[in-house]
């Protein structure tokens, strides 16, 4: 028996297993960082022996949340430039701010701020793409987060990669350095988009990812302009063009996929490529609404992401779930689509599959790593609980997260982060933000 072994009891256990079993009240037994048992437990029934027992006090117990698209260091730009046209936002604000302020030190600072927010809000794993990926990975590893971390690739000078000729090499080296280094950190290659990376870069980057056996991520078909220009320049939609280049397979993650037609959807389904759906970012930037009900009907795996804090402006996956459930109802006119159960699956098991971790995490099933969230039960907006999936999707936010476990370790306990000093993180971020505000 490991001193970290524990039993969580007296909760509403939402397993997100294939049958979507709910045990009310139920328990979860954890040994050696893994789930060994979940099931119902009547009040008064004796608990399995363990060094620790956690009383969920009637709260919902569910898999840790999976955020399939982030740019962690961009927490530093949260609220810097809102309510602007997309090109002005990117070219007059975000890109210049990155060029001026992003370095190894600020990336570490912004990532730590992001990790604090993610963990406190119940996200146990994210899939990130940014520059200075070593610093992102180090900060995430130190704070106990699980993460797929992509080194960014663009065909122009980027933070940390001044010469674009070395962009794919930099990404490959990052992957080499981090494979096998920390069991919770999975290195990845992140090509920014088909319009910021040329054909050669795209193919070489995917080839490198394939050789390393790591996830390849790419923003694709985010805006109407991108689609229009791709067709004008290449005679192909963004998704179609990347298919011609052989980029789609089950180890590539298509991020956004808003401007896709029936053929594009068929391509993604046939290649078994998963999609990261980021509804709040797509709404805020007026990009559009991805056809998620069509993705699901085509059998495409859809994970849920917040995107970076410059376009959301938070990393709260519980709030994203609420939006994901509602936006497709209103755009399709069908209140039955993207129901609460489907959205819970997107934010857990489907997200885990989308980023290549479906066998290890994403549900409360024996054999899986013990990445677990326990929600509060004592807040007015969480009462009553008729259907736990409804409560989670339509009423809860990250602030309702009480305990968070990763690999069976309590990284958040009673709403308090255990792996870093939040006060220090906030003070550091405020200091960097002062410089950014002054020079913006």
């Amino acid at each position: 028996m490991d001193s970290n072994d524990l039993v969580i009891y007296n909760g509403i256990v939402m397993t997100v297993n294939p049958a979507f079993d709910i045990h009310r009240p139920g328990m979860v037994v954890i040994r050696g960082g893994c789930i060994v048992e979940t099931g119902p437990r009547a009040p008064g029934q004796p608990l399995p022996p363990a060094p620790r027992h956690i009383d969920a006090e009637g709260g919902i117990v569910m898999p840790g949340l999976v955020n399939t698209h982030t740019h962690l260091p961009m927490t530093l730009f949260r609220g810097l430039a809102d309510d602007l046209p997309l090109d002005q936002w990117l070219n007059a604000h975000i890109f210049p701010a990155e060029a001026r302020h992003i370095d190894a030190r600020t990336v570490r600072c912004g990532t730590r701020l992001a990790c604090a927010e993610l963990l406190l809000g119940g996200t146990t794993v994210c899939c990130d793409g940014y520059f200075f990926a070593d610093q992102v990975a180090e900060a995430a590893a130190a704070m106990g987060l699980r993460a797929v971390i992509g080194q960014g690739v663009v065909d122009f000078p980027a933070p940390g990669v001044p010469d674009p000729a070395g962009n794919v090499e930099a990404a490959r080296n990052f992957v080499d350095r981090w494979q096998g280094r920390c069991p919770r950190i999975h290195p990845s290659i992140f090509c920014h988009s088909p319009y910021t990376c040329g054909r050669d870069t795209l193919v070489r980057a995917k080839t490198a990812a394939r050789a390393a056996g790591c996830l390849f991520q790419i923003h694709v078909a985010e805006t109407e302009v991108e689609r229009r220009e791709s067709i004008a320049a290449h005679g192909r939609s963004p998704v179609g063009r990347l298919d011609d280049l052989g980029l789609w397979d089950e180890h590539t993650l298509a991020v956004h996929a808003v401007w896709v037609d029936r053929d594009d959807i068929e391509v993604l389904a046939r290649r078994r490529t998963a999609v990261s759906h980021n509804p709040q970012s797509n709404m805020k930037l007026a990009a559009g609404v991805a056809p998620v009900p069509d993705f699901l009907a085509a059998g495409i795996t859809v994970g849920l992401g917040t995107d970076g804090c410059a376009s959301n402006n938070d990393l709260d996956l519980l709030r994203e779930m609420d939006t994901a459930a509602k936006i497709h109802k209103v755009t399709t006119g069908r209140p039955t689509v993207t129901d609460a159960r489907q959205v819970v699956e997107m934010a857990t098991i489907a997200g885990a599959r989308a980023i290549g971790l479906g066998d290890a995490i994403g549900s409360l099933e024996p054999g899986k790593r013990a990445d677990i969230v326990v929600l509060r039960a004592d807040r007015p907006h969480l009462v009553p609980v008729y259907h736990p999936a409804s409560t989670v999707v339509y009423a809860a936010t990250g602030a309702d997260v009480r305990h968070v476990l990763i690999d069976g370790h309590l990284v958040v306990r009673d709403g308090v982060l255990q792996t870093a000093d939040v006060k220090e993180i906030l003070a550091d971020a405020r200091q960097v933000a002062k410089t950014i505000a002054r020079k913006h």
Copy 2:
């Protein structure tokens, strides 16, 4: 000097006055339940004398939030019937549940649960419409909330009004009983809709409201079906038909107004009728998206509401603000519409005007009642703060509310409700919910 007089200092004061002045750092001086001064205050500068000083610790200080559309007792149905077609939701679940379970006791229970959620989430005033309005008003008054409370009117047997022949009379009597009874409670008449109230009922109800000088509320043009059937039956859009009946003026609140055309918008603008915009409910029920940018362009006052908990499923106006800012960007394709400042105004001063209280509340200006919210500053998702309106709209939720004052009284202090026992309220609601679940 009153023992309740106080000074709030060391905050980012977002006044929401006509110039949208922000004092950073700033202070608010409160005497006799009113704001007497707001302004900048340099660190170290002496504070005006007062029995109490509240250190906002760098948090945003803003007007109390105004929720312009609620059905408070429906917290008891939160999550009971989600992801369903609208007619099935209403006719197979909500109406039968109301007929079976709504009485004076459950209305009190659900209202208390709602008031706890509203106050803890920074809402200091709501505009409600439901049945057993006496019980709603009593519970809200006892918990220290400010509220416009409408007695519901429909032309079929309703909870507490078994004979529809007495529906307008019941509403008039409610208004008579409550006018002048409690300075924070403003009685009102709430006709459910043009399709549940006949012509005669509508006219008599508005006449009664006009005679009493109280607000008249009505759901209108919520769904496409409603619009289509109105045109088929009356040859007029819902808004046009109610104009023919003389229902629109500045003391009527048009709730939803989703399915409106250019003529309808012109009617509402000309009659100086305000609109309650409830985006999350409209999304969840797949009703549609109200043309808020067009309303604003036409000079219509737009307040923000959550609607009831059966169609949202929470009463968190800060989350509603985030949705209100984003939904119009994506549906119009313009990321500049409904910017953070406009949305803050909708949730405060414009909402106050919409429900007839614009002279008394809705902004931090000398002479106004001291309805004030102080947000936390110590949460990762609230750092950095480049523009306070952006932080409030795009990052904050009700859980970030630290202090709430109504008439200068601290009704929430450090996140703890001061006017009722939340544990007792939750236990009571869970008990009622058990019965509802069993008999549903």
